[in-house]
């Protein structure tokens, strides 16, 4: 064939593929490989670091290890708030393969209505897909077993072990302790809470809020290596959780129990304090709420019942009720009168009231001849109308303000209110009106514009009985808190604080003697405690004017508020108890409640601490204002706070 002429030659050529076409094929191969090379270059050289991050995010899952919150103890180390282990179930939406199959199975296994799961998913629609959404808290062991048994079918279920708050039942000391809850939007916006992240559990009131930074500890985390189904295949490392610090409160559980019992079924507050140090021994507010309901899922019903309760169960009335103090204010009046030398010689013939500036001011009784000695036990209004008129509003305001009225006490609890101590300045500033002398008369008996909190009253009156030594009230022992924390707390909760007001010994001792008479023969005689040096002052504060009362036609809510501030012993008391019983009708009623707490305190002191000072009726002679050992205590407190 090869030797054939042209046709064969041509034929021979056609028996081969043209080399040009094969060269073209080579170029095509090179082109394809260059494109693939470029693709690999783009991913592996240019994009490597970015894809490495994605690969790590794929396989490493950070699982939080929640720090157990610090526990709370009473002053004697008895537990008030504990934690209990609890397991919550979360849903990883990205892992759900077929909602129509998985969700009904989950609903059955976790005993949640299917509609509720769907509603939860809908609620989190806007959240990023990788964010686990809570399905159920406090799951039972058999629900946990269900999740374990369905690891393969339901990889989207994840459990998280955590420590939950266990509060005393039935709202015991609820206002003081507070509660925890998920951090709120407002808190997240506040730079002060910059270290909180959404979903964090934080103290939302009471000690839980004030000392949150100490109690919360620091959450740790575990880095798990997971496969594509989220199954753990290894561990990388972990950051241990630092448990929150336990705190010892100044509360005495025994007294708190008596106080809780005394206030049961009433509306109001009771606060007991050691005036030497400002340590709060008991604090009760009624009505109360169950903090346990707040720490788990708050049900709508429970929340509504709290919101619609006209007596505001969430309010800590010991520091948040601002009400007219009524006759308890007469102690402050007496001190002002004596210190200004305007009460010593005042004699009033009480005939059921007196007329000032053309207006008749009533007294509840015809007391007859009244002077500074029997004005307190009799609680004669006529005497104090006259004294108020003699002193004038600004002198009264000066002493009241000195004693901490119209300002926060500085207790280490959130949202304390200041109350009001009116003066000419105050009225000009708030109402842009001059003060009328007639208004002073009502202030003299603790009515009118003056409002106080039970804690303010306890501190002020025990301050008088302590010769002018006022302490900053607190519920956590100062030495429990690191200095920088204590400073932060003191700064956040500023107020009247620690101070000593100069007053003449014979003046304040005259007042304490008169207060002793109050529980013996005076307005609180019914609360008399045999063998205990128990003194006090009642207050019955009208909640509306006589005219308004007549219009309203009576009823429980128009009854006056019953106040009582009691102490033991009479001079430099070891305990002061202030009781506010809203619509309690008569100060005497509150005196009986305070007496229960004082009685419990004294009995405990006798049994445990052999403190006989309280029981003994003191010498009539005036003693030094502050006993040396107390003075030493005061000093240590002052430096610590």
């Amino acid at each position: 064939m090869s030797s054939s002429p042209s046709p064969d030659y041509l034929n021979d050529k056609q028996e081969k593929v043209a080399p040009g076409k094969l060269h073209a094929a080579q170029y095509i191969v090179v082109l394809v490989l260059i494109i693939l090379f470029a693709g690999l270059w783009r991913l592996q050289v240019l994009g490597a670091s970015g894809y490495r991050v994605l690969a790590e995010a794929n396989r490493i899952r950070k699982v939080p290890v929640l720090a157990p919150r610090g526990r709370l103890f009473d002053r004697e180390g008895r537990i008030l708030v504990d934690n209990y282990p609890s397991t919550s179930c979360f849903l990883l939406r990205e892992q759900v393969k077929d909602p129509t199959v998985d969700l009904p199975l989950i609903a059955a296994g976790l005993h949640i209505p299917l509609e509720q799961i769907q509603a939860t998913i809908k609620r989190y629609e806007g959240a990023p897909g990788y964010q686990p959404i809570p399905l159920k808290q406090d799951i039972t062991p058999d629900e946990q077993a269900f999740i374990e048994a369905h690891r393969n079918e339901l990889p989207e279920l994840e459990t998280l072990d955590e420590q939950r708050r266990l509060y005393p039942r039935d709202g015991f000391a609820a206002h003081l302790i507070g509660y925890v809850g998920e951090v709120s939007e407002q808190m997240l916006d506040d730079p002060k809470y910059a270290f909180y992240e959404p979903g964090d559990v934080v103290g939302r009131s009471g000690v839980e809020q004030t000392y949150d930074a100490l109690l919360r500890g620091k959450d740790g985390s575990r880095d798990l290596i997971v496969n594509s189904r989220g199954k753990e295949v290894g561990r990388l490392g972990q950051e241990l959780a630092i448990p929150g610090q336990d705190l010892k409160l100044t509360i005495d559980l025994d007294l708190q129990m008596v106080a809780e019992k005394a206030m049961e079924g009433k509306i109001g507050a009771l606060v007991a304090m050691d005036p030497h140090t400002g340590e709060i021994l008991a604090m009760v507010s009624r009505p109360t709420f169950d903090p346990n309901e707040f720490s788990t899922r708050l049900t709508r019903n429970y929340w509504n019942s709290i919101l619609t309760n006209p007596d505001h169960p969430l309010l800590n009335k010991a520091i948040q009720a601002q009400l007219a103090p009524g006759s308890t204010f007469k102690i402050i009046m007496s001190l002002a009168g004596l210190e200004e030398n305007k009460a010593q010689d005042l004699r009033v013939d009480c005939q059921g009231g007196a007329t000032f500036y053309g207006h008749f001011y009533a007294c509840d009784r015809h007391h007859g001849e009244v002077d500074i000695h029997n004005a307190i036990p009799l609680s004669c209004d006529t005497f104090y109308y006259t004294l108020a008129n003699r002193l004038g509003i600004d002198t009264i305001a000066k002493y009241a303000t000195e004693l901490g009225l119209g300002q926060r006490t500085g207790i280490d609890l959130p949202d304390e209110v200041a109350g009001t101590m009116p003066s000419t300045q105050w009225k000009l500033k708030t109402q842009h009106q001059p003060w009328y002398a007639g208004e002073t008369i009502s202030v003299g008996i603790g009515q009118g514009a003056v409002t106080v909190t039970p804690l303010q009253l306890a501190r002020a009156l025990s301050g008088v009985a302590s010769g002018g030594a006022l302490r900053r009230p607190h519920v956590v022992f100062a030495d429990e808190v690191p200095p920088e924390q204590a400073e932060a707390v003191a700064e956040t909760f500023s107020g009247s604080g620690d101070k000593t007001i100069p007053m003449r010994t014979e003046n304040w001792q005259l007042i304490t003697e008169a207060m002793a008479q109050t529980t013996l023969t005076g307005t609180a005689a019914a609360a008399h405690l045999e063998g205990i040096d128990f003194i006090g002052k009642t207050g019955t504060a009208q909640v509306m004017s006589h005219a308004a009362l007549a219009r309203s036609g009576g009823g429980h809510r128009t009854d006056p508020n019953a106040w009582f501030v009691g102490m033991a012993p009479r001079r430099n008391p070891d305990i002061v108890v202030a009781v506010l019983w809203e619509h309690g009708n008569w100060g005497n009623n509150s005196a009986k409640l305070a007496a229960q707490v004082i009685d419990a305190y004294v009995n405990k002191q006798r049994k445990l601490h052999h403190n006989v000072r309280i029981a003994a009726t003191p010498e009539p002679v005036a003693k030094p204002a502050i006993p040396p050992e107390t003075a030493k205590n005061d000093k240590s407190v002052a430096t610590n706070l």
């Binding site: 090869s2 034929n11 050529k13 056609q14 028996e15 081969k16 593929v17 080399p19 076409k21 094969l22 073209a24 094929a25 080579q26 095509i28 191969v29 090179v30 394809v32 490989l33 494109i35 693939l36 090379f37 693709g39 690999l40 270059w41 783009r42 991913l43 592996q44 050289v45 994009g47 490597a48 670091s49 970015g50 894809y51 490495r52 994605l54 690969a55 790590e56 794929n58 396989r59 990205e94 290596i225 997971v226 496969n227 594509s228 189904r229 295949v233």
Partner: protein
């Protein structure tokens, strides 16, 4: 016909490079199945390779002209086997692609590739280099499209598509004119576009797979998932890779089927850009060697046979690696000589057997 001395003309360098790729393949399959229930697939792959090598030698012994002679019968048997699959095939993962026979599974669509290469070579040899008429072109289309339609019906889009490069290669080497090619492309463009719109030819999941590669983040848990995980695997491998058996995407089971379709992604993750370049270089050398063999072939059908093999290989490499690096849609086309799988390996080695066959007989004339 049987001349022992011809084994001296066997393409040993080509076989050497192919075996290097095979070793890489086995090691990567071992790594990718290490902690899975597919553990041991590397051993099965070795078995396939051994069978493949034997078949390659056997294939090289039969003169390729005889293969071309029996091509029409092979074509008939092939199409018949596709009909059998359609009627009695085993359904696996939603596709009816397999014939079970005494515990062994066969995927006839793979063999059809081989048959088509031979049939197309025979067809264009018959035309003997004259200018192609529209009738010639139509017939070549018919030869390829009949089995393709059956495979599409299975449905196995990926394998069906690998038949096209055989046809294109045949037309190109057979002498199609530029004008004819342009007209065909235009018609395919219009008809294809219309078919896409009506949605009757492709199933929705196929369409989703074909489009999701352009924006895998759009649906990271759906059809974009595979591409996304593949990109992460390849990219995170970086220049040097994470080391053998240490790819987090591969070992953590994030990468889908890392021993078959996505084996190159697994390899890139563990051996990095450098390793990937090595594999690309091997493919380059193999393909160049094949084309060189096509040039030295004794006659037209010899060149056609080798170039048919080249066309299928280039297409599969381009589509598979293109898919792995996010340039191509997910079509389920294995990477030749790398992906795990008996049918794929046996096809590759039988095809190489044909190449050897042609090379050994290059001095016949």
């Amino acid at each position: 016909m049987f001349r022992l001395s011809s084994f001296r003309d066997f393409d040993w360098p080509l076989l050497g490079m192919v075996l290097m790729l095979s070793v890489i393949s086995v090691l990567e399959i071992k790594s990718a199945t290490l902690h899975t229930r597919f553990h041991g697939f590397d051993h099965k792959q070795i078995g396939f390779l051994v069978i493949g090598l034997v078949l390659m030698f056997l294939m090289s012994l039969i003169d390729y002209h005889q293969l071309i002679d029996i091509a029409p019968y092979a074509y008939g048997v092939g199409v018949a086997s596709l009909v059998i699959v359609m009627l009695f095939g085993t359904r696996v993962l939603g596709g009816k692609r397999w014939i079970s026979f005494h515990g062994a599974h066969f995927q006839p669509s793979e063999w059809i590739k081989l048959v088509l290469i031979v049939v197309i070579a025979r067809y264009f040899w018959g035309l003997a280099g004259r200018d192609l008429t529209w009738g010639d072109i139509g017939k070549s289309f018919a030869i390829v499209c009949v089995p393709m339609a059956f495979v599409l019906k299975q449905p196995d889009l990926g394998t069906a598509l690998t038949y096209l490069p055989i046809l294109i290669c045949g037309l190109f080497l057979g002498g199609i004119r530029f004008k004819q090619a342009a007209i065909i492309l235009l018609v395919i463009g219009v008809v294809g576009g219309a078919a896409w719109k009506t949605g009757k030819v492709l199933k929705p999941y196929q369409k989703a797979r074909l489009t999701s590669f352009m924006d895998p983040d759009n649906d990271p848990r759906g059809s974009g998932y595979q591409i996304r995980q593949s990109l992460i695997a390849v990219g995170s491998g970086g220049i040097w890779g994470k080391g053998a058996n240490k790819g987090t995407q591969t070992q953590g089971d994030f990468l889908p089927i890392p021993y078959t379709d996505f084996i190159f992604a697994a390899f890139c993750e563990e051996h990095g850009f450098v390793g990937a370049m090595g594999v690309l270089l091997l493919y380059f050398l193999i393909l160049m060697r094949l084309i060189q063999n096509a040039q030295t072939a004794a006659d037209l059908p010899g060149s056609f046979l080798i170039m048919g093999v080249v066309a299928v290989m280039v297409f599969q490499i381009a589509v598979n690696i293109g898919m792995v690096v996010g340039l191509m849609p997910v079509t389920g086309i294995p990477l030749p000589l790398m992906s795990y799988g008996g049918s794929s390996i046996l096809f590759s080695f039988l095809a190489l057997g044909i190449v050897m066959n042609v090379r050994m007989r290059r001095f016949v004339n």
